[in-house]
C-alpha cells in the first residue's frame, strides 16, 4: 500500500469540502490510475482491498465513518424509503419493513458478500464498488484501460468467463459486480448527492456509465461529490419483487447472472414490470425491452422467455462467456415466473 494522508469529516459538507480542497492541493487532475487522487473512505471493503493490491493509490482519504449516526438511518414512509447512504448492508437487509415490502432490496443485500462484509460495507460504497475483473485487480497486467487508461484491455482476448455480454466496448468488458444496485435500478430509485456546488438529486440509473472509450470514468459523480441518501419510491410492484442470483457456489460469491424483478399485477395480467440484470453487464442493466413485452399480458413461460430473449438481443459474447447469454435468460425467466406466484 502506498502512503496517504487521512482525515475524518463530521458532516457531509465538511467531507466534500475536505476532498475538494485536497484535490485542489494536488492539482485537480485525474492522475492516479485515471482516478482523482483523493477518495472517500466508508466501510473500506473495496477501497482498502484495492489499495493493498495497489490498484488504487489515493494520496488522501476523507473518512466518512463519523457520519454513520447522522446519515445511516432508514425511514419508511407511505411514499417510499429514504435510506442514509452510510447505512450498512446488514442493517438495511435486516430491516423488517424492507424485508416485507421491498423483498428485492433485502434479498439483493443478504445474498451479497459475507456477514462480516455486510456489517462493514455502507450502501453508498456498495453501489460504487469496483469490478472484479482479474486483469483490473492484478497490476502485473499492464493492459487495463480502467486502471491504466489507453493501455488496452487484456480481457478481450484473455480469460473472460466472468465478463460482461451487455454494455461492453472495444476498450472494456468488465462486469459490474454488485447486487443492490440492480434492485435500486429496477425500483426507479433516486439518490441525493452533496458536492462542491451544493446538493442535487439524480436518477440512480444515471449514476453508472458504460465504459465506452473511457472505462476509467465509472460514474457521473463529480469530484468531491458524495452520495448522502437513497430514495426508493413506493408502488404496487415493490411487494411482488425478488432478486434471483446465480453463482459458482451457493454463498459468498459474485453473480454469474442475476435478475431484480418487480411486478405490478392484477387478475393475472402484468400492469407493469420492472427488471434489472446483474452479472452480465458492465453497469446495472435496466431491461426496458423486456418490460415493454410483458406489459398488458398475462405472464406465462412462453412470454417470459420471449421477454428474456429481448433483453439479450444485443448481447456480445467473447471466447469464454457465451454461456451468460443463455444463463442470463434462464435466470430472468425463473425470476419472472417466481415473482408472478408471490402474494402482493
Amino acid at each position: 500500500m502506498e502512503p496517504f494522508t487521512y482525515e475524518r469529516a463530521s458532516t457531509p459538507e465538511l467531507a466534500s469540502g475536505s476532498l475538494e480542497s485536497a484535490l485542489a492541493r494536488m492539482g485537480n487532475e485525474r492522475t492516479v490510475q485515471g482516478r482523482w487522487p483523493a477518495e472517500y473512505l466508508a466501510g473500506g471493503t473495496t477501497l482498502i482491498d484495492l489499495m493493498k493490491l495497489e490498484v488504487m493509490r489515493p494520496r488522501h482519504l476523507v473518512d466518512l465513518g463519523e457520519l454513520r449516526e447522522t446519515h445511516g438511518s432508514i425511514k419508511v414512509g407511505v411514499d417510499g424509503l429514504k435510506i442514509g447512504a452510510l447505512a450498512t448492508m446488514a442493517q438495511t437487509a435486516e430491516h423488517p419493513d424492507i424485508a416485507r415490502n421491498y423483498p428485492v432490496i433485502a434479498q439483493s443485500l443478504v445474498l451479497a458478500a459475507s456477514a462480516q462484509l455486510r456489517n462493514m460495507a455502507t450502501l453508498g460504497g456498495n453501489v460504487l464498488q469496483r469490478t472484479r475483473c482479474n486483469y483490473f485487480r492484478d497490476v502485473s497486467w499492464q493492459a487495463c484501460n480502467k486502471r491504466n487508461p489507453g493501455s488496452g484491455c487484456a480481457a478481450l482476448e484473455g480469460v473472460n468467463r466472468l465478463h460482461a455480454v451487455l454494455g461492453g466496448s472495444q476498450d472494456c468488458i468488465a462486469t459490474y459486480p454488485g447486487d443492490f444496485a440492480q434492485a435500486l435500478t429496477a425500483l426507479d430509485a433516486t439518490i441525493e448527492v452533496l458536492g462542491p456546488n451544493g446538493t442535487r438529486t439524480m436518477a440512480f440509473v444515471d449514476v453508472h456509465r458504460m465504459p465506452g472509450t473511457t472505462p476509467n470514468i465509472e460514474t457521473n459523480l463529480a469530484p468531491g461529490e458524495v452520495i448522502t441518501v437513497f430514495n426508493v419510491p413506493a408502488g404496487p410492484w415493490t411487494r411482488r419483487s425478488l432478486y434471483l442470483k446465480i453463482r459458482d457456489r451457493q454463498s459468498y460469491e459474485f453473480a454469474l447472472a442475476s435478475a431484480a424483478v418487480a411486478l405490478d399485477m392484477a387478475d393475472g395480467v402484468v400492469r407493469g414490470a420492472r427488471i434489472a440484470l446483474g452479472g452480465v453487464a458492465t453497469v446495472p442493466w435496466r431491461a426496458r425491452e423486456s418490460e415493454a413485452m410483458l406489459a398488458g399480458k398475462s405472464l406465462d413461460e412462453q412470454g417470459a422467455k420471449a421477454a428474456a430473449r429481448a433483453a439479450f438481443a444485443d448481447a456480445k459474447a467473447r471466447e469464454h462467456n457465451a454461456y451468460k447469454i443463455a444463463l442470463g435468460q434462464e435466470t430472468l425467466v425463473r425470476a419472472l415466473l417466481q415473482a408472478a406466484t408471490m402474494e402482493a
Binding site: 494522508t5 475536505s18 480542497s21 473512505l41 471493503t45 462480516q116 462493514m120
Partner: protein, 206 residues
C-alpha cells in the same frame, strides 16, 4: 504551521512523536478543513510518513499507539498491541481469519484501518474468557465438538460464530452455514463447526 507540521513529521523520532498530544493532531485536521473555504494552495497535506497518535480500546484496555496511517486494525492488534490471536489469512477480506468485534459487530480487521476505528470497543479472541479462565461457551463448544484441525482459522471462526448467534442467524444448520460462509477452513472442519455453533447457541441463550 503547515511547514512545521511537515518538518515535525520528518524530523521527530517515533518516541518523541508519541509525546505530541492528540489535541495538536485535532488542530491540524481543523486547519485542513478550513482550507476548503479559501487558500487551498497554502495548506499542504500532512507528511504521509508522519505517524498518527491513535488510541485503541481492546478487550477493555486502552492502548495508545503511534501508527502509520496504512496500518490495518489486524496489524495494529498483532504488531503494536501484542495480541496475536487474530490471524492473518488472505489479508484481503476473503477468508475471515482476522474477524474481531468492533462496537459489538463482527468485522474484518484486515480491511479496517486502525486509525479509523476511533473510540470503538474492539474485542478479540483474547477478550472472551473470564478473569478466572473460564472459557466462553463458544470456545468450549469448539473444543467439545472438535471443530478444528490446524486451528489457524479458529479465532476468526469463534468471533464470527458469536456474531452469528447474537444476530439471530443460528436457527438451523442451513442458516449457520449461510451466515458463517465468510469464514473459510482449509482443513474443512465445517460439519463440526456447525455443530459447535449449534451447541453454543443453546448455552448462550440464543
Amino acid at each position: 504551521m503547515p511547514e512545521s507540521d511537515n518538518s515535525r513529521g520528518a524530523a521527530l523520532s517515533r518516541r518523541k512523536f508519541l509525546g505530541v498530544s492528540a489535541s495538536t493532531a485535532a488542530l491540524s485536521l481543523v486547519g485542513d478543513a478550513a482550507g476548503a473555504s479559501g487558500s487551498a494552495q497554502e495548506a499542504p497535506l500532512r507528511d504521509p510518513r508522519a505517524l498518527m497518535d491513535t488510541v485503541l480500546k481492546v478487550n477493555g484496555v486502552r492502548h495508545q499507539v503511534a501508527l502509520d496511517e496504512r496500518t490495518t486494525l489486524l496489524d495494529a492488534l498483532r504488531d503494536h498491541v501484542g495480541l496475536t490471536g487474530s490471524k492473518k489469512g488472505c489479508d484481503h477480506g476473503q477468508c475471515g481469519a482476522c474477524t474481531v468485534h468492533v462496537a459489538g459487530r463482527r468485522t474484518l480487521s484486515c480491511l479496517t484501518l486502525a486509525v479509523a476505528v476511533g473510540g470503538a470497543e474492539v474485542t478479540t479472541i483474547e477478550g472472551l474468557s473470564k478473569a478466572d479462565g473460564a472459557l466462553h461457551p463458544m470456545q468450549q463448544a469448539f473444543i467439545d465438538n472438535d471443530a478444528f484441525q490446524c486451528g489457524y482459522c479458529t479465532p476468526g471462526q469463534i468471533m464470527s460464530a458469536i456474531g452469528c448467534v447474537k444476530e439471530g442467524h443460528a436457527r438451523s444448520d442451513d442458516e449457520i452455514r449461510e451466515y458463517m460462509s465468510g469464514n473459510l477452513c482449509r482443513c474443512a472442519a465445517y460439519p463440526n463447526i456447525v455443530a459447535a455453533v449449534s451447541q453454543a447457541k443453546n448455552s448462550m441463550g440464543g
